[in-house]
Amino acid sequence: MSRRAGGADSGGADGYDSGMDGAPPIEAEGLGKVWSGPLGSRRVEALADFSLRVAPGSVHGMVGPNGSGKTTAIRCLLGLLRPTRGTARLFGRPPAAALAVGYAPERFDLAGKRTGRETLRLLGRLSGLEGRALDDAVARELDRLALAASADRPIGGYSKGMVRRLSIAAALLADPRLLVLDEPFDGLDPIGNQAVRDEVEARAADGVAVLLSTHALADLEAVATHLTIVHAGRVLAQGTADEVLGVRGRCELVVEGLSDDGLAAVRAAVAGAGGRTVETRPARESLVDLFRRRVGRGEEGTE
């Protein structure tokens, strides 16, 4: 896979505004969103005092139960919704269409009459790509998301996982400096999950800021450098993954090649150092790893 040169320092595709130099890709302060019924009745506070800062090269995961306000927060951050309170800035500027944002919404319902390639070409063209650059970007993302063999079939015949991958491909198409993925793992098989995780990590390594909202906690945990836990529209916890997930005074030790006697010796050593062995269990391969090993990384046809 050849990655587009430039990474975090590039200005994105033609037509994209790079924003102000040095400004964080996402900076939100005290965002609130209240939904009101007619004449102000039935007020529902979907988001309250939501603050977030996403730095270049970081993968910021946002988790929370259904209806906790994750998607509302994303839509406020991107300017798709006008927040009732607070401010959001992307690259130091108010959210605007011309900013270099790649967004894969939770629902991707573009017409089934278009083929995958036509969809990507259209969205790429609307992102400012054209000519050879557009052709190369479409071919690249189709290949990366394992959609090349299905590219010329109507989307209507795609499986849920294929549509999800197409949505992510559309978000990645113009090499945005900020990637916002809403439920990117929804409907994906483990191979698809891995493809998305690889893509997210690779983009982050290139300096792209990534904001992920998902219920796939294991996948998120594997890639997130920062986490925000949202509940009932409010931030419950926020920080680096280590800060949020770390348990003070605990660590994990993974060893191999030990006999029972050797294991007993390790426990004794831990006890001798003033610690306590909480749990010892035999290591086994994860189901995900087994699936990937046995099924392998292949191109998806139909599901």
Partner: protein, 400 residues
């Protein structure tokens, strides 16, 4: 970007099932033109209306274009909104104006691409180009043709001029609905105004003669004379130019009458089928395009067409004096005639809607301003509606 959006709109509107649907619509419309081009306008006693297959065909296709444009615009707007396309646009460097222009361009392009072959199929099915188009009624040729008082022999050409009228004599029992094919000649030195101004005398063997002087009209078209009378005895139609700027070149077949009036039942069935057909087409469009709005729009479309037809019937009946004369008062079949009138007007609605030139050419001094206003008014409403739909489609880039 505009080109990309336009091409995408064409793709969405024309790919797949719509092609077959348009073919079916074209066949239905062709049969419609073929069957209705000579169906008379009931209730307009003494009126002289222009009409020709070409005009009916053109106006039918025009109406189809307008209807297609509205339906396609509605579908495109619905598709863009329901699919979240605007969300994808909102996070990309593309402006609303670009989207609006691109989608409108695509809509027009799709309309043209759809209607050119559709129009050709309609023309083919309608029998355009045939010398005598099949009609529901039998064509009856005059038994005698006189020009300037002298009989015109078969194969000979006569010139009808002011002071030298053409007289077409028809046998008893022939319905006095006539079609006159005109070939004007401009005498040397004459200043032709570009309009044909005629006087038409209806001279029954028994009873009083009647004279009409229709508004001047363009040459090179057929003049259809509707009298809505079926004289038992024979009659003659006398045609004479009202000025000296042109003469009419006629042969024995220049004027043909239409005999054998379509029975009321036939007309009723035809009109009913058209009403059902309009509803079916609208429902089929909604179904095949996958409009997620249940059957609402389809029902509304059929109801709208029926309402416009009834409105037209009411306007024309009032103008024609029906009702005011009390001729139908107490007649048990008045309701049936009203239904027939309404449905017949529905049959005539298609060409009338698209007619921008003065519509119903009554006798001089009997202009029909209401009918003249109807077509542009409806066209304006439809256009405004289509623009409104697209505006709605474009506006909600962002939720607020």
């Amino acid at each position: 970007m505009i080109v990309a959006l336009a091409r995408d709109a064409v793709r969405l509107l024309l790919r797949g099932r719509p092609v077959f649907l348009l073919l079916a619509v074209a066949l239905v419309c062709g049969l419609f033109v073929r069957a209705t081009r000579d169906v008379g306008v009931a209730r307009l006693k003494g009126a002289v209306l222009p009409g020709a297959a070409l005009e009916t065909l053109a106006s039918t296709v025009f109406l189809l274009a307008v209807a297609w444009g509205v339906v396609a615009g509605l579908l495109l707007a619905h598709e863009d909104r329901a699919s979240g396309f605007f969300t994808h646009l909102a996070v990309r460097p593309v402006g609303r104006a670009t989207v609006a222009i691109g989608r409108l361009a695509g809509l027009f392009l799709a309309t043209v691409l759809a209607l050119v072959p559709l129009g050709a199929i309609v023309a083919l099915v309608a029998g355009l180009g045939e010398r005598d188009l099949p009609t529901l009624r039998e064509r009856v040729r005059p038994t005698t043709v006189e020009v300037g008082g002298a009989p015109l022999e078969a194969g000979a050409i006569g010139h009808v001029a002011r002071g030298s009228p053409g007289r077409f004599v028809f046998a008893p029992g022939t319905r006095a609905d006539a079609t006159l094919r005109l070939r004007p000649k401009i005498p040397i030195g004459a200043a032709f105004s570009g309009r044909i101004a005629l006087r038409v005398d209806y001279q029954p063997v028994s009873g009083a003669s009647r004279t009409w002087e229709p508004e001047p009209f363009r040459p090179l078209r057929e003049l259809v004379l509707h009298f809505d009378e079926a004289p038992g005895a024979g009659y003659a139609l006398v045609v004479e130019p009202r000025d000296d700027t042109f003469v009419l070149e006629v042969d024995r077949e220049a004027l043909t009458a239409i005999g054998g009036t379509a029975p009321l039942a036939v007309e009723l069935v035809l009109a009913s089928l058209l009403v059902l057909g309009a509803g079916w087409i609208a429902a089929a469009l909604a179904f095949f395009f996958g409009v997620g709005l249940s059957a609402g729009p389809a029902s509304l479309a059929a109801a709208f067409v029926a309402l416009v037809a009834m409105g037209r019937a009411a306007v024309l009946d009032i103008v024609a004096g029906i009702g005011a004369t009390g001729a139908d008062g107490g007649d048990p079949s008045a309701f049936l005639r009203w239904v027939r009138s309404t449905l017949t007007h529905l049959v005539r609605l298609v060409p009338d809607l698209a007619r921008f030139n003065p519509a119903a050419r009554l006798g001089e001094g009997e202009a029909l301003p209401a009918a003249d206003l109807l077509a542009p008014a409806v066209a304006l409403l439809v256009t405004v509606g289509a623009v409104g739909l697209l505006t709605i489609a474009v506006l909600p880039f962002k939720e607020r």
